[in-house]
């Protein structure tokens, strides 16, 4: 397969984007995703591709809009405050059905917060941080290798469904190094042409990139089209991981970095005779409600663990309803809960 | 000076009067006729004085006017 490299999460995401044929990358500096920017700054020009450090995150997402509308694979990355600045642009990208990849290396919030890891942008990513009825596909990697794989996948899904796709990682994942095997690069020229893009109206009617319909019936139709796309994606693209859930009495629901930490918790608990399993959503939108609902029928407790004040927790409760108890354990401020602290919480719910 | 003439696409006219003001020969005026949109459309009040200079067409914000000029026998 590809080369084996020792890379930081930020660098893996950048390298994966390059190998996925990303032709234009626009971003603004912000910790903890600076290395992603630097990797692109170094490597994109070498491949004759576009790297721009934009004057702001707003400008960057607007450049993504232009490049995506012109039919090339394009990406931006930032961290929490920067992603907030991009929300209007993201709503336009969704409204105009433009494929692109947006990476959020989440950090402590709200406000300036800090540069430590967090998961406190879950609502913004999955419920829509911008205006209007829209969704992004949101992918939540839990390891550095998975961050690379999901970035490649993000470009595929974006083009397939003409939708912005977000990689929701966190500062820990961004900064951590792990050995990674990356696939061979895709040549952008080999990617299928996009006949809807603004490539120059030669021998065809003009293509218009638009998210605007003055007539309410037309705007309604635009929304109905988007909603049917979202249903198709929900039917076909849900991804999640179950770990040791077959005989579990308690299941931990956790995503991203916390999903990974909770595998250690599962092993530690089982070493003490406590049958615990892990349910780890990979697509944070579309959320895997059905599999979690099924799982909640065989356990008495689904414990949600997050680096936030409880956001994915709401989706867990939606899926589980009254079938099982749905307690929550979270850390904020950029604190990463230790396996021990999570295990202590699990023990409170043993019956 | 070769004679000229203009043709109005009257349904596009918005009665703004800029062509009337721009004409160096005072050829144009408001017709008092309303188009379907209710605008008082311009017209050639003194067609014989038109020299086909295109000033009216150039200044028209809605490209209502086409201009013709007499072929000068070579």
């Amino acid at each position: 397969m590809g080369e084996r490299l020792l890379l930081r999460g930020n660098e893996v995401i950048a390298e994966a984007a390059i190998r996925a044929g990303c032709q234009c990358y626009f971003a603004y500096p912000i910790t903890p995703q600076a290395e992603l920017l630097e990797h692109m700054a170094l490597n994109m020009p070498r491949l004759g591709r576009t790297f721009i450090q934009a004057e702001s995150e707003i400008a960057a997402i607007s450049m993504v809009y232009g490049a995506a509308g012109a039919g090339v694979r394009t990406m931006t990355s930032s961290s929490s405050p920067g992603i907030s600045l991009k929300q209007e642009g993201i709503s336009y990208l969704a409204g105009a059905s433009l494929p692109c990849v947006i990476v959020n290396i989440v950090r402590g919030g709200p406000g300036l917060g800090n540069i430590a890891p967090s998961q406190c942008d879950y609502f913004q990513a999955t419920k829509g941080g911008g205006h209007g009825d829209y969704h992004l596909i949101v992918l939540g990697p839990s390891t550095v290798p998975e961050a690379g794989e999901l970035t490649m996948l993000a470009f595929e899904l974006a083009d397939q469904y003409r939708i912005p796709v977000m990689i929701l990682a966190d500062g820990l994942l961004g900064q951590m190094m792990e050995p990674v095997e990356l696939p061979d690069p895709i040549d952008p020229a080999s990617l299928p042409a996009k006949d809807w893009a603004t490539t120059g109206a030669k021998g065809r009617a003009p293509n218009i990139i638009l998210s605007f319909e003055m007539d309410p019936d037309d705007l309604k139709q635009m929304n109905l089209d988007l909603q049917s796309k979202y249903r198709t994606i929900t039917e076909n693209e849900i991804r999640y991981e179950e770990y040791e859930t077959e005989d579990a009495d308690i299941v931990i629901a956790a995503h991203g970095t916390i999903g990974r930490i909770c595998k250690s918790v599962v092993r530690m608990a089982r070493a003490e005779g406590i049958k615990v399993g892990l349910f780890r959503p990979i697509t944070l939108w579309p959320y895997p409600y059905e599999p979690l609902k099924r799982l909640s029928q065989q356990v008495h407790t689904v414990l949600t663990v997050e680096m936030s004040a409880g956001q994915m927790w709401e989706d867990v409760r939606l899926a589980v309803a009254e079938r099982a108890a749905t307690p929550f354990f979270g850390e904020t401020g950029g604190i990463v809960p230790t396996p021990r602290s999570i295990l202590n919480e699990v023990k409170k719910h043993v019956r | 000076m070769p004679r000229g003439t203009v043709v109005f696409d009257t349904e596009r006219c918005k009665g703004c009067g800029l062509c009337i003001a721009a004409c160096p020969k005072k050829v144009l005026a408001f017709s008092g006729q309303l188009n379907k949109s209710g605008y008082n459309v311009a017209y050639m009040a003194n067609p014989d004085d038109c020299i086909g200079c295109t000033f009216c067409a150039m200044t028209c914000p809605d490209i209502v006017i086409e201009v013709y000029r007499e072929k000068v026998p070579s």
């Binding site: 809009y65 232009g66 109206a201 990139i209 | 200044t59």
Partner: protein
């Protein structure tokens, strides 16, 4: 009427690069003249098939309907950044960003300055009518001192709302831009000069000479509460005093 056209030759008609769509602008609004000029320039340079227009937010939000070219309608103020993205993605395309004064010189200030500072090989048409037209006549960054608008009902008071911003002069201080000029349309002489300027701007882009900005002093009869003819006089006699005409940069 058409009978006597036999021995006549047509010397002025609708540019080929424009569609048949009727403009949505108010009677006498200069947006329509600018659109025609752009159509003529596209015809002359033969570029409509590889041009991408940017439709901003404002009165010209519908401008994607006017040209037989691809277009992108973009968020308010972000046109220059979107144009950057398109041009970098496909350098062979001719990209022009058509923006009003609110879009270009207020909410889009950063994008406008930095696209110019990067010397993006794009053409910006900056329509300066010193007011927000689409939303009903509010103050713009270019609104004149003492000018009454719906948000400066007593007239723009510099002590609270600042002065009309001379954006082209700011852009002209940058090293990268190839061509920066301010033009007007209040009479046929100036319409012809504006046409030459717009052509030069697009020509520079075609030749890869870099960033070009054409600011065009325009009227807004509706929100100025003047007739179209009075509006032209207002530009000629008053607005040009605050926004002097002429080329500010020409490194072509």
């Amino acid at each position: 009427m058409s009978a006597n056209l036999e021995n006549m030759v047509k010397v002025f008609e609708r540019p080929q690069s424009l569609t048949d769509a009727r403009f949505t602008y108010c009677p006498g609004c200069h947006h329509g003249i600018i659109t025609r000029i752009i159509g003529n320039v596209m015809d002359e340079l033969g570029i409509v098939e590889r041009t991408v227009g940017i439709a901003p937010v404002g009165c010209s939000v519908f401008s994607y309907l006017w040209y037989k070219a691809d277009s992108q309608q973009v968020p308010h103020g972000r046109a220059c950044a979107v144009a950057t993205g398109i041009k970098r993605a496909r350098p062979e395309l001719i990209v022009f960003s058509y923006q009003g004064d609110g879009d270009f010189a207020s909410i889009g200030t950063a994008e406008s300055i930095h696209a110019a500072n990067r010397g993006e090989n794009i053409t910006v048409i900056f329509v300066n009518n010193q007011i927000y037209g689409m939303t009903g006549g509010e103050m713009a960054p270019t609104t004149l001192v003492d000018q009454k608008t719906t948000t400066t009902p007593e007239g723009r008071d510099p002590r609270v709302a600042g002065y009309p911003i001379r954006f082209s002069e700011m852009i002209a201080t940058l090293d990268a831009p190839a061509y920066v000029t301010r033009q007007a349309l209040f009479d046929t002489k100036h319409i012809m000069e504006t046409t030459k300027a717009v052509k030069k701007a697009f020509q520079y882009q075609v030749e890869g000479k870099g960033y070009s900005l054409v600011e065009i002093l325009s009227t807004c009869p509706t929100n100025w509460r003047m007739s179209p003819v009075q509006s032209n006089t207002h530009v000629a006699e008053t607005v040009t005093k605050v926004f002097p005409l002429g080329d500010l940069v020409d490194r072509g």
